[in-house]
Amino acid sequence: MAGSVFVIPVLDRWLVYAPLHHASALVNRAAVCRLSEDRVQPEQEDLASLSSLIRSEPPGVPQPREGLVSPQFLGLIPTRACNLRCVYCGFGAADGGCEVMDMALAVAAVDWMAADAQRRGRATLDVHFFGGEPFFARDVVEVVVHRTRAVAAEKGLVPRLEAATNGVYDEDCARFIGDYFEAVVLSFDGFPQVHDRRRSAVNGRGSFEAVARTARILSQSPAELCFRVCVADDNVDHLAETVSWFCRQFQPAAIDFETLQPTSGAEEAGLRPPDPYRFAAQFHSAGRIASDQGVRPSYAAALRETPRTSFCPVGNDTLILSPEGRVSACYLPKQEWQARGLDLEMGRFTVQGAMELDRRAIERVRSLAAAKPRCAKCFCRWSCAGGCHVNQSFPGCPQAYNDFCIQTRLITACSLLAELGADSLADRLLDDRSAMEALALRTSDALEDCEEADG
């Protein structure tokens, strides 16, 4: 049971949460005491069955991967270059160089992935594009799209293409994406004054008009369109109106909210991450508006159905190919991980089609998923899983919860309350700063450490 059953204070109630048992309940303090001390009376039927469930072995404890590398998807970075100069860019676009992936290298990688998918009996051939801006190297993307579809048809696989993009290109390119991609994550920060302040082109012009045009084209295409909104201190209080407008104008399938990752550029532009308590509250209200409109709100570290040990490609055996043929576990530029003392490189891929992976490097990267001491007693450990390995859970990161932890803990607790039909309790929680702090800053949620409930 240790480390798999958690109790979380929500105002005068307690949320009991056993993610590996897929169980949660809202109880009072006395019930927590009884659960903690294992003295539940048989006549308290509901509590007794909860106690019995959480004291049983969980059906499956997620473990870091072992054995042969089994990538879920192939990640391609056709170029690190970008046509925008976003003030908060953490992808090194300004000094990313202009190297473009050789078409033959890209095709060889797709063929390798297709052979691997077929060997493993997978149903799909999944290729995801990252950047830079992937469509800044449109020729490479076009070739990869058609090679993926050609080889998938040959091997009886379903092609699944996804891309993260800034949306700044001509209508023809947007239509191509809409025709051929299953899912597109489009960076779109909202109203023109917000979007243009942050996301301008190399010539300094805002990119709102082009992104809005792309969004309209994609929203009418078969591709699943997800907007990714960067939330900072200047737009956190406008999420609800931004979401209403997005839903009205574009009807995306999903809207993803992620908080600003501090960079020197963002600081120079006067942008700061939002207050995490405010973000959690605003995410909750904006998310409700989106859901009411049939649009899925999302936050990368949020609650999910299947427990996990990693929130990103790192530790999931994903192979991400850089323009020059290096294979790594992360799409961020190498210098970003190196600055955190991480080496996420796993090998190289050659134009001849040889995937040369370093066994020790793979084990080193896999082991990162298990090395997160800060998360050990946090109730989000199997959903957030520590967040980004480079920006949140890097080796030697502080033990205390940071802003990312605070907002994630609040958002996850509210999602659990919503699942239990306790929306009004979530609303009251998010309206009470001291109750939010009591929940968010609690150093251990483990049931076995629960002493406050006795007090």
Binding site: D139, E142, R147, R149, A150, A153, D179
Partner: protein
């Protein structure tokens, strides 16, 4: 689209009564002229797509080589043969002019 080096430069355009949709394994061409549907698998689907998006002949050859894993010569032959078959099927129109 013109072919460099040919005595006659040929320009092709899609027949006005032809439209197409993207399918999982290729394209489905719909010829309203004769009410026929013409499924295109790969690599033909890629060729149709590249031509329809305004790529130059040089770009089409370069991309088709990568997509179909053919030599330069085989790629040019594939393009010429495929386009000829589309002209015969009434899917493409050829307009010859002196080079």
């Amino acid at each position: 689209m013109g072919r460099p080096g040919a005595e006659k430069l040929a320009t092709y355009r899609c027949a006005p009564h032809v439209s197409w949709t993207v399918e999982r394994n290729g394209l489905l061409l719909l010829n309203a002229g004769n009410a026929k549907a013409c499924p295109l698998g790969y690599p033909q689907a890629a060729l149709w797509e590249l031509l329809s998006r305004g790529n130059s002949y040089r770009q089409v050859v370069s991309k088709m080589r990568a997509i179909a894993l053919l030599s330069a010569e085989a790629t040019e032959r594939f393009i010429a043969d495929t386009m000829e078959s589309w002209v015969e099927a009434g899917l493409l129109l050829r307009e010859d002019r002196d080079g």
